[in-house]
């Protein structure tokens, strides 16, 4: 798990979660590629976590739409990345 600290940081931010319409999806896989596995650390919002079955799953609520995961998995196609619908997602108060 990402540990409580990242949640304390994300709690400060402002989000409008588009319930039921996550803008990033991880394609079904049995064993994750090294690139996908690296997202558990590389994602600045700690959205990626390893399940007990060894696969990688995403909870996109705290996502800051930086694009790191899309860039890192561009050759494996394991991540379907898109912008949230207009007005949804992270809303920077300062930026």
């Amino acid at each position: 798990m990402t540990g409580p600290r990242i949640e304390e940081k994300l709690f400060q931010n402002r989000y409008l979660v588009d319930a039921g319409r996550p803008h990033i999806k991880v394609r079904a896989h049995v064993t994750p590629s090294a690139a996908l596995a690296s997202l558990v650390d590389a994602c600045p919002a700690g959205c990626y976590a390893e399940t007990d079955k060894g696969t990688i799953e995403i909870v996109a609520d705290g996502c800051m739409e930086c694009g790191t995961c899309r860039v890192l998995t561009q050759h494996t196609g394991e991540v379907e990345w898109d912008y949230p619908r207009g007005g949804f997602g992270v809303l920077f108060k300062f930026g």
Partner: protein, 284 residues
Amino acid sequence: MHSVVCIKQVPDSAQIRVHPVTNTIMRQGVPTVINPYDLFAIEEALRLRDRLGGTVTVLTMGPPSAEESLRKALTFGADRAVLLTDRFFAGSDTLATSYALAQALRKIGESWGPPDLVFTGKQTIDGDTAQVGPGIARRLGLNQLTYVAGIDALDLGAGIITVRRRSEGGVQELTTRLPALITMLEGTNEIRRGRVADALRAARAEVTIWNAAQAGITELTLCGLRGSPTVVKRVFAPTARAETAAFIELRDQTPADIAEALLAEITTRLPGIEDELLRHAAGY
């Protein structure tokens, strides 16, 4: 059919922070939003218009910057927007607010036809009083329908509306005559995203701006601080509870022992809980 939706621009309360040390309200960087409860009112009015035709007017009372929320409401698809803004309104409590809004609603009636339905949000996230709706209904003689979960029937010709509203311990289904005032329960619908044409029209639309006089508000003693019987004497931060949990002793206890200890702890800390649970258990 003419519906008017009263909305309010409020600080996004989830973002309000009280500085832990200086106990001050930190407003810098706190964005404003349309009061979330009002979105259900806007959507319900737009759905009625889609079904029965007519127009939807959005009205707000606030500072000039509240125009931003009106533009957002226009983007959802509202037909026109009115901003009631005047320094006389500063410091209004709910009684003074309902007076000003009621007067403005009369003026809107004269300008674009008397409203068949006036919508307000169930309450605001900054005031939370849920009194402005009833106040407007009382002043304009509108039939008051609060905590409405759904509009089941609306016969414009006969001027009859049938709704389901939340009441104590259940849901009431009742019918009344138009014009009526409706406050929508949260979760009854989901605000739509405006179409491209709505967004373009909203970006270019003229927002009607009225001061007190233009809104037909002549009794200035009924507005703002002077018109407000209630006044805020003190604002302060709740003292956060510091101490952590009292832990149940575990020393090689079986789950059953732990459960008994936990049950005892619960019943001692909540004295009346046992007979309440009994009443529940007996299907009282």
